[in-house]
């Protein structure tokens, strides 16, 4: 079931297996999965880009996963409350960071921001590590369609 987006409220906690199960709900369209943290300036700068992408591209889904630690959950909740994004924002569940990184994508170095593009078939299509523009995200989605 697709996560109900309650504006300004975290959608819950996820480890990597639960994230993949959650992404199954979006089969049939590409999903832009953004990994970020409140302490990461480029991530925060990118957030409005993802919000615009989600509002303007109804042919795809955006899912956001914060890797903020449990101790920073207050800052995360305040950020999400303030922004009210039109997509679910999950928090990485406490636990082994490396297992999470490798479970999301073995090619991921752990850098944030990172954006995983999941194809309509539910498989990894592209991984963008580091800062990137909306054009780069859209190119990665389109590239995967070839």
């Amino acid at each position: 079931m697709i996560a109900l987006v309650l504006a300004g409220v975290l959608a819950g906690e996820l480890d990597a297996p639960r994230l993949w199960r959650a992404l199954d709900a979006y089969r049939g369209r590409p999903v832009v999965v953004s990994f970020w943290a409140t302490w990461c300036k480029p991530c925060v700068e990118e957030f409005p880009v993802l919000m615009a992408l989600a509002r303007e591209r109804k042919d795809l889904a955006v899912v956001s996963v914060s890797i903020d630690e449990k101790e920073d959950r207050g800052a995360l909740e305040a950020f999400v409350r303030e922004k009210g994004p039109p997509f679910p924002v999950y928090a990485k569940a406490p636990g082994d960071d490396e297992a999470f990184i490798n479970g999301v994508d073995p090619a991921w170095s752990g850098v944030v921001p990172a954006t995983l593009i999941v194809g309509p078939d539910g498989k990894r299509l592209a991984l963008i590590q580091g800062e990137h523009s909306r054009e780069e995200i859209e190119r990665a989605i389109a590239g995967g369609k070839r």
């Binding site: 300036k41 752990g110 990665a140």
Partner: protein, 191 residues
């Protein structure tokens, strides 16, 4: 750094790494960079050390900064044992003046080299700060990855870097040769 060959048809990795990254067992090609005081530092001057630690670090990255005290302690504990510790700052927006101030404020007494145009970060395939490379006395890469498994430092379960150094100093196999952790991007120049 291990290069992960895409295993799924159609998979694209758009990492900002460029040349083939270094891998465990690779030899270090000595290089020279200027430190934050403008002095040339040639890694050849560390030949003869029992190990060489290269640390890609930052002044503005909250994750790298969370490790400042641990990096200073590492230098204090391991330099007397014959380990050379060298920081590398590859971030385009962090000046040598800023690196100098940061090092002074945080007690980072080891040399910190300025990697102009992120040439070395590209050659190593370094992606995040902090990111660590440990070479043995023969300058073979023996460990690559994180400092430890807890960014906050309050519940460390695995002292990966110290474990690697202890193994190298003891002439033993490094127990865990590659690790990952969350970190900041290395802010590269457009090429």
């Amino acid at each position: 750094m291990r290069f992960y060959v895409p295993v799924l048809v159609g998979f694209i990795s758009v990492a900002q790494a460029h040349a083939a990254p270094v891998a465990i067992g690779d030899s270090l090609a000595p290089f020279s960079l200027k430190d934050y005081q403008g002095k040339d530092v040639d890694l050849k001057s560390y030949q003869g050390s029992k190990a060489l630690v290269l640390m890609f670090i930052a002044t503005q990255c909250p994750v790298s900064n969370a490790y400042n005290e641990r990096m200073a302690a590492l230098a204090k504990d391991y330099q007397p044992k014959g380990v050379a510790i060298v920081g590398i700052n590859s971030n385009r927006q962090e000046s040598t003046a800023e690196i100098a101030t940061h090092a002074s404020q945080h007690g980072l007494t080891f040399p910190i080299l300025k990697d102009v145009d992120n040439v070395k970060a590209d050659q190593f395939g370094a992606q995040v700060t902090p990111e660590i490379y440990v070479y043995d006395a023969g300058w073979k890469l023996r460990y690559h990855g994180r400092i430890d498994d807890n960014q906050r430092g309050d519940n460390i379960q695995s002292q990966d870097l110290r474990n690697a150094l202890d193994a190298v100093l003891a002439g033993k196999e490094v127990p865990v040769k590659e690790t990952k952790a969350f970190g900041c991007t290395i802010k590269r120049v457009q090429k």
